[in-house]
Amino acid sequence: MTIKRIRFMQELLTFFGLEGRLHLEWISSAEAQKYVQVVTDFTEKIRQMGPNPLKKIDAAVKGAI
């Protein structure tokens, strides 16, 4: 069910224009290596995408008030 729910959120965010910013992975407590790999890869991916565009807008709105 969680897989399906996350897929729903991913597709909704894609439609809205925030593609690729949500990731789900099953990692058992024994798979330390995989955990490190997944987190590093995802962090790298997000770094390349740049900051969340919503942040900029939030700051602009706060600045205006």
Binding site: K4, E11, L12, T14, F15, F16, G17, G20, I57
Partner: protein, 280 residues
């Protein structure tokens, strides 16, 4: 048998206590509750081009009179809504009689009363900066890249005046406590509204629930293409969960409402509570 005779029969056979239809008043076709005490009014019963959510009125009547038997005019969209309201126990199917009027455009039936026969017009500026009302979710995804989609949705959402019209008019928004009024999600009393949270909350809630009647988009004073958003959300639900709201009466596997809902009167009117509090 014509519409009026059918309704008369329902009253004569004692199948209903009230019939929800339309009646002209000063040149406007408005919803009206026809009752047995005033049978002469039935002569004025009509079908209207403008669609009001008769189901929502039926839920209000049921809140006041739990056992009332209601008859109503039902188009395709009304029937889908009714199925959904039965599913979530907001109405009891045993207390509802419908007189079905087919109006969705189909090759067999060129005439239709549905206001959706004429597509909505989208202005030039909206086409270049926002989103075309008549866009198809798939072509929208193909035509624009991620960044472009984001800026177009933000352009649309930022116009929102937080009138809550989309929720108020929606026949399947029936929660006692609405997340859109939850202070930790949507800050009360400020504009612009929290974008895109406000709209994405509603989009998520409409997953497995919205029956695509289009009333919300009609009621939106800021012309936000809400139907497109909810259509895509339900396309996703249909892909992943193989569920289409309103087609039958089984509950959606994807929902935020929780497993159980009950048919019980909503909290008492503010008036009564206030009167109690102030001992009036």
């Amino acid at each position: 048998m014509n519409l009026i005779d059918q309704v008369e029969q329902l009253f004569i056979q004692d199948k209903i206590d009230i019939f929800l239809g339309y009646k002209a008043l000063d040149g406007h076709l408005l919803p009206h509750g026809f009752t047995r005490d005033r049978m002469e009014e039935l002569k004025a019963l009509q079908v209207s081009e403008g669609r009001y959510s008769l189901e929502k009125i039926a839920t209000h009547l049921t809140e006041k009179h739990p056992d009332i038997r209601i008859g109503m005019i039902a188009r395709e969209c009304n029937l889908r809504t009714l199925n959904l309201l039965y599913t979530w126990k907001q109405l009891n199917p045993e207390n509802i009689e419908t007189i079905n009027i087919s109006c969705c455009p189909s090759p067999l039936k060129p005439h239709s009363d549905c206001s959706y026969l004429e597509p909505k017009q989208t202005g030039a500026y909206k086409k270049t900066h926002g989103i075309d009302f008549n866009a198809d979710p798939d072509t929208f995804l193909d035509d624009f890249n991620n960044k472009n989609r984001f800026s177009r949705w933000m352009y649309e959402f930022n116009k929102c005046i937080k009138c809550y019209g989309c929720r108020n008019i929606c026949p399947v928004c029936f929660c006692d406590e609405c997340s859109l009024e939850h202070a930790s999600l949507v800050e009360p009393g400020t504009l612009p509204v929290d974008v895109p949270i406000f709209h994405l909350i509603r989009a998520t809630h409409m997953a497995g629930r919205c029956i695509d009647c289009g009333l919300c988009e009609d009621a939106c004073p800021m012309d936000i293409p809400l139907r497109l958003l909810y259509r895509q959300v339900n396309a996703i639900v249909s892909d992943i969960f193989d569920y289409r709201p309103g087609n039958g009466t089984d509950q959606s596997p994807f929902t935020i409402i929780g497993e159980k809902t009950v048919l019980e009167p909503k909290p008492m009117d503010a008036q009564l509570e206030g009167e109690k509090e102030y001992g009036l």
